[in-house]
Amino acid sequence: MAEVHIIGQIIGASGFPQHSLFCKWGLHTGGAWKLLSGVVEGQTQVDHPQNDDMAFWSHPIDMHFATKGLQGWPKLHLQVWHQDTFGRNELYGYSFLHIPSTPGTHTLLSPTWRPLGTWQEQICQMFVGGGPQLKSASLIYGGSDRYRLQTVAMGQVHLELTVILRNFERYGVESS
């Protein structure tokens, strides 16, 4: 069986209108993939940087998969949330990226977006916060129903991920 290790960090986020951010992340794979070690989802701590405009989480990621096929190559989906001074959580952005398929260390920047409501909802959002959210996370990394959405760009998430492949040459798969 071919094996894939994904090891790295969700470093942080930049370009968002406010600080006090955290990130919920999850990894989605196809049916041929089996998780051998690690967890496929998690949530970072809330970071409120004092000096900078980048929030740092340094959230470690370590996953080990065995796979029988290339379909369903892992996709990481992210949700950036803002926690305000009252402790309420407000969605700031969704994003997804494919895990790189070449072995080695990759520095990745993932742009986020959030759903845009009606103009009434936008005015409400400006005063009170909140805003529309997706009911199902599958729309973040799936393309089939995207045409129904109207979105606005938000900040970006910084990641560093290292991909280690094992036995791919044995099956004739060229990845680098």
Partner: protein, 177 residues
């Protein structure tokens, strides 16, 4: 017929070079390693405490430790790849040592020279004392620690692992705002 290797080795030598903490002075750092069950250190020092360093007068406000780190690990599995955990401590207004930040980074994966900056996060001690999980921790990140490593691996390729190009050593600078 000789049988193939069953373990691979990761040898890391380097230093915790320096730090930038705009609001604190007279700091020292501790390092230790966190790794999975399949990993074991074979030689080197697993934990260390540096000297206390102060910012130079005028000029660059950098805190220099130049603190050596040398360790070799053996493993059967990349899962649980070692992370170096760096904790920075300094005096509070009463002279007691308090933690100024924690940071962790995975040791580099490919042979070569690596130069990295890491941001320790400052954790509010009251929240940590409540014993809740990382999801409900609020931190304030301030300051940055720079470390540099030289990495050599043995038998990683023989065991079938492909960690990407190692034909030329690369120096990688971490993103800094």
């Amino acid at each position: 017929m000789a049988s193939g290797p069953s373990v691979f080795l990761l040898n890391v030598s380097g230093q915790i070079e320096s730090a930038e903490f705009p609001e604190f002075d007279d700091l020292y750092c501790k390092y230790s390693f966190v790794y999975g069950h399949d990993w074991a250190p074979t030689s080197g020092i697993e934990e260390g405490i540096s000297q206390i360093t102060s910012k130079s007068q005028g000029g660059k406000q950098t805190l220099v430790w130049n603190f050596p780190v040398e360790i070799t690990f053996k493993s059967t599995n990349p899962y649980g790849w070692p992370q170096i955990v760096i904790s920075v401590y300094g005096p509070d207004v009463f002279g007691n040592d308090v933690v100024r930040g924690y940071g962790a980074v995975h040791l580099p994966f490919t042979p070569g020279s690596w130069f990295m900056g890491r941001r320790p996060e400052f954790t509010d001690p009251k929240v940590v004392a409540q014993g809740e999980g990382r999801e409900v921790t609020r931190v304030r990140s301030q300051g940055c620690v720079t470390v540099s490593f030289n990495v050599v691996t043995k038998d990683l390729k023989k065991l079938g692992y492909n960690t990407g190009s190692s034909d030329f050593p690369s120096a990688q600078l971490m993103p800094q705002p």
